[in-house]
């Protein structure tokens, strides 16, 4: 009881310190909450987007490839004639130019039977009815174009009267429902699937449907539900990997800050031991304090996450991507808080154990501050050596394994990377000391720099905590850069390989290929030839690609499919860019946690060394010198982290490409260098607050007796 109360008091009396210690876990928890809420809300949107088969449909017929309008209608008539069939609806779908309110834009039009169980309007009796010559608009579409029931719009040259404004899924586009007969008349709306109602034999439908895929309604809905589930699982899986990374980083930081804070309070803990607390009670009080810090951080983080997620969902709703009400997932939010508590307690375990062993005599003498306690070199190096060997072996096995099973290969590569991170945690302090020794000659000219270097060397554990987490963040970012460069190069290569020209037209979409080639070749800007099943188009010597495009568009009949290598590549690059953006945002959280670690560690370090800073100030180091020394410490820690991160991350990026069987190509050296330099710069900037407090230390306190 006293243990818990003492711990709670300790947190409440020093809320700033508790927040400082817990800020890394707060950031990670906020990320977890945002990820959870975004996934929960995306679920609703994904279900709306992915579950398209009406509940009443007993059979779904999906034509293979592009089917001519007439053929599809013939199949529909054939199915309708089968015994037991009650209703058949062919769904036509297409992007159509629509003129409404004087403005012409591209709308996504879908056909709808206008009534009955297969209609999208079945649950909206106040809308419609939709009859030939009518159109039902989505609510936002109607708002955007400024039309209402009774107005007229022109779709593909056909005048349609707005019969209703209602429940059409919009997803940010202009949408409308038209009668199937109008869909056929408008053109550009191919039949995409056919829904059948009735007690009908699947085999009979297959016999009529030719090579179209015939599925029972329940099976199709099941498949859609599964696909939505798979997508969600993928999103959740990906998110949880990044949440886990952020949490692990936070644990490393919190663990280090706990060690610093408890080292400062060694005398206090020793006093508890003096007045009769057992080691166990001290241990428990530290863990209880960690739980309080975790709870506080978890509540703040989850609250912030809830706010951010609500903002994101509101933005998505404004963009018509989501229409359902906000899902708050209270159970998940409680889990986020619990995650914060558990992670913080886990982070505090090593310092709690050390605190339990505090010698009571420390209360009598001057408290030994700082964590200058020697690290057990031998055991750590042996463990690190074994882990490194395992990591290298796992990484080496990943590539051949990926030839037979790519997923296992990727998992092995990820495992190898995780092992390397474990090695960094184990040997971080040695790396820092080694780096400090290496740069010592450079610091010989400046007292401030010498101070920073010797401090990083002395407190190598806390410096290593900053470095390790920075390495993780930079490593992930570097791996992403290398992977993106590789994927882009691979895409470019494969586009060039499959096209073999600037543009191509498949021979089978053209009625008279020879005539078309002749017509194209006649144009001075076009070099056209038939190779295999494609008409290949290149700019004639001396003409530019834009001229080729104009010439081709002028020559080919309207509606002919022309595939442009540049467009395909731009599409792929856009997808890669979106992926890179999402990846960068995810990794950004780990980098933010790392920067938080730099700020917190340096702030606590400065607070602990006030006496020492005052002493060197009294001995003649200037205010700016004191500040510089803190900046130099941040610079040193981040430089080690950035270098390790770029090297290791680059290597794992290449490994990932090899596993995916893509050429690594030229690594993006400039981008990697910019990443490293940016991180060092950001760390020095992040050190601004601790720098300021170091500069504010008055020399006089250095001379005061403790």
């Amino acid at each position: 009881m006293i243990v818990a109360r003492t711990a709670l008091r300790s947190v409440l009396r020093r809320p700033r310190q508790a927040l400082l210690v817990g800020v890394a876990i707060t950031a990670a928890t906020a990320f977890a909450a945002v990820a959870l809420l975004v996934a929960a809300n995306a679920r609703v949107a994904l279900v709306a987007f992915g579950m398209v088969t009406p509940p009443a449909a007993d059979v779904v017929v999906v034509p293979r490839g592009d089917v001519a309008q007439g053929a599809a209608l013939e199949v529909a008539e054939g199915v309708r004639a089968l015994p037991g069939v009650v209703d058949v609806a062919v769904e036509h779908l297409g992007d159509v130019e629509v003129e409404a309110g004087g403005v012409t834009t591209t709308w996504k039009l879908t056909s709808d039977p206008g009534g009955g169980p297969l209609s999208a309007l079945r649950d909206a009796p106040d809308v419609g009815p939709l009859e030939p010559g009518g159109i039902v608009l989505g609510r936002r579409t109607a708002e955007r174009v400024g039309v209402d029931v009774g107005d007229t719009v022109v779709a593909g040259g056909h005048e349609l009267v707005v019969a209703g404004v209602g429940p059409v899924r919009e997803f940010g586009q202009d949408v409308g429902l038209v009668h199937p007969s109008d869909a056929v008349a408008i053109g550009g709306m191919p039949p995409v699937q056919m829904f059948v109602v009735g007690d009908v034999d699947l085999a009979a439908v297959r016999a009529v449907a030719g090579d179209a895929a015939v599925t029972s309604g329940p099976e199709q809905r099941d498949r859609e539900a599964r696909s939505v589930g798979d997508t969600l699982a993928g999103v959740l899986g990906g998110l949880s990997v990044f949440v886990a990374l952020a949490v692990v980083s936070a644990v490393v930081i919190v663990s280090s800050t706990f060690r610093i804070v408890l080292a400062r309070r060694a005398a206090e803990l020793a006093l508890l031991r003096c007045v009769g607390a057992t080691g166990r009670q001290v241990h428990r009080s530290v863990l209880a304090e960690a739980a309080c810090v975790g709870l506080l951080g978890g509540l703040v983080g989850t609250g912030a996450g809830l706010g951010v997620a609500a903002g994101l969902v509101a933005a998505a709703r404004a963009a018509d991507l989501v229409s359902a009400p906000f899902v708050a997932a209270p159970g998940g939010l409680v889990a986020c808080v619990a995650l914060s508590v558990v992670a913080t307690v886990a982070a505090a375990l090593p310092s709690a154990r050390a605190a339990g062993r505090t010698a009571p005599v420390v209360a009598l003498g001057a408290a030994r501050s700082s964590d200058a306690r020697p690290v057990r070199v031998g055991a750590r190096l042996v463990a690190a050596g074994a882990l490194t060997l395992t990591a290298v072996a796992t990484g080496a096995v990943a590539v051949p394994v990926a030839r037979t099973d790519q997923l296992t290969g990727l998992a092995l590569a990820a495992l190898s990377g995780t092992l390397v991170f474990a090695v960094l945690v184990a040997v971080g302090p040695f790396l820092v000391r080694w780096a400090a020794r290496a740069v010592r000659p450079l610091a010989a000219r400046s007292a401030a720099l010498r101070l920073a270097v010797s401090n990083a060397h002395r407190s190598s554990r806390r410096t290593a905590a900053m470095t390790t987490v920075l390495t993780l963040g930079v490593g992930l970012a570097a791996a992403l850069l290398v992977a993106v460069a590789g994927v882009t190069a691979d895409a470019r290569e494969s586009v060039v390989r499959t096209f073999g020209a600037d543009a191509l037209i498949p021979v089978d979409v053209v009625a008279d290929p020879d005539a078309l080639v002749a017509a194209l070749a006649a144009h001075p800007a076009v070099d056209a030839r038939v190779v295999g099943t494609d008409i290949l188009l290149d700019p004639a010597p001396g003409t530019d690609p834009a001229a080729l495009r104009d010439a081709v568009l002028d020559t080919v009949p309207a509606g002919t499919s022309v595939y442009w290598a540049g467009d395909v590549l731009a599409g792929i690059e856009q997808t890669v860019a979106v992926g890179q953006l999402v990846g960068a945002a995810m990794i950004g959280v780990t980098l933010v946690v790392a920067m938080v670690g730099v700020v917190v560690t340096l702030a606590l370090s400065v607070a602990e060394r006030r006496q020492e800073i005052a002493l060197v100030r009294a001995l003649g180091v200037s205010r700016a010198g004191a500040r510089r020394s803190v900046a130099a410490e941040a610079g040193l820690a981040s430089a080690v982290g950035a270098t390790l991160g770029v090297v290791l991350g680059g290597a794992y990026g290449v490994l990932a490409l090899r596993v995916l069987d893509m050429p690594a190509g030229q690594p993006p050296l400039v981008r990697l260098a910019l990443l490293g330099a940016g991180v060092v710069g950001a760390a020095v900037l992040a050190a601004a607050v601790p720098m300021r407090s170091a500069g504010r230390v008055e020399p006089a306190i250095g001379l005061a007796a403790r």
Partner: protein, 262 residues
């Protein structure tokens, strides 16, 4: 483990009328060439219900002795007896229980946990043991030591003298066999220091408490019944009914090179 262990009594006794006794106590630190012998065969008797000061130059071993006496440090060899208990024979759990149940501490500074109120600090040992302090005794102590109206304050809201008085209340609350004070007036101004010494004196005279105090200050030592002098880790004599002057004289003799002054 639901309840911390209670200090076990052991057959060996310090002797009639003795609160504690050191027998041939040796304490060494470090190994090899860096070995330091802080206590070098110290033998001292501490009489019950008396106020004893331990004095000596820096490095004479008085702090190490105090640590051994208080169960905070363990001798390399020899015996440290507290009443009927040989502290050297106890494990950490038993020593913890001894500190909690049979010893009281007053340090120079930092006696109180900063985030607990004065009252909570006073009750700390009892709370840690999972029992309730003797309410009547507690009331008497806080009134006698003049901190009754300060119990809800945090240490940072108290003066240095008040903090030390709170520490004395805490030390006395468990009716310990021995109160150990390490330079208790070191961080106080002379007036507050004198008041605290008078209080410790009263503890011995009025409550029958045994108090051992390490100090540098001859004026502080003059308040005690007896001064034990240490030099180079050994006993170097005693001063009975000390005065400031007799203490200064004996310290002067001790400081002189061996064979010249004595």
């Amino acid at each position: 483990m639901s309840q911390p262990p209670v200090a076990p009594p052991l057959p060996t006794v310090a002797g009639p009328g003795l609160a504690a006794r050191a027998v041939d106590l040796v304490r060494e630190y470090g190994t090899g060439s860096s070995r330091v012998r802080a206590l070098d065969g110290l033998s001292v008797d501490l009489v019950e219900r008396r106020f004893t000061a331990v004095m000596g130059a820096s490095g004479s071993g008085k702090s190490t002795f105090l640590h051994c006496l208080a169960g905070l440090d363990r001798a390399t060899s020899g015996q440290m007896l507290l009443g009927g208990t040989d502290l050297g024979a106890l494990d950490d759990a038993a020593l913890t229980a001894i500190r909690r149940d049979r010893l009281g501490f007053v340090f120079q500074d930092g006696n109180l946990l900063p985030h607990l109120t004065a009252g909570e600090n006073i009750d700390l040992a009892a709370s840690l043991a999972g029992r309730r302090a003797d309410r009547a005794w507690r009331r008497e102590l806080v009134e006698r030591l003049g901190v009754a109206d300060r119990l809800r304050h945090l240490p940072s809201q108290l003066s240095g003298g008040q903090r030390q008085r709170v520490a004395v209340v805490r030390a006395l609350l468990g009716r310990p066999d021995l109160v150990v004070a390490d330079e208790p007036t070191g961080a106080l101004d002379s007036e507050a220091g004198a008041a605290l010494l008078a209080l410790l004196r009263a503890c011995v005279d009025e409550f029958g408490q045994t108090v051992v105090m390490v100090t540098h200050d001859p004026s502080a030592a003059a308040v005690t019944d007896e001064v034990v002098l240490l030099r180079d880790g050994r006993a170097a004599g005693r001063v009975d009914r000390p005065t400031r002057r007799t203490v200064l004289e004996r310290l002067g003799e001790l400081a002189a090179p061996a064979g010249v002054g004595a």
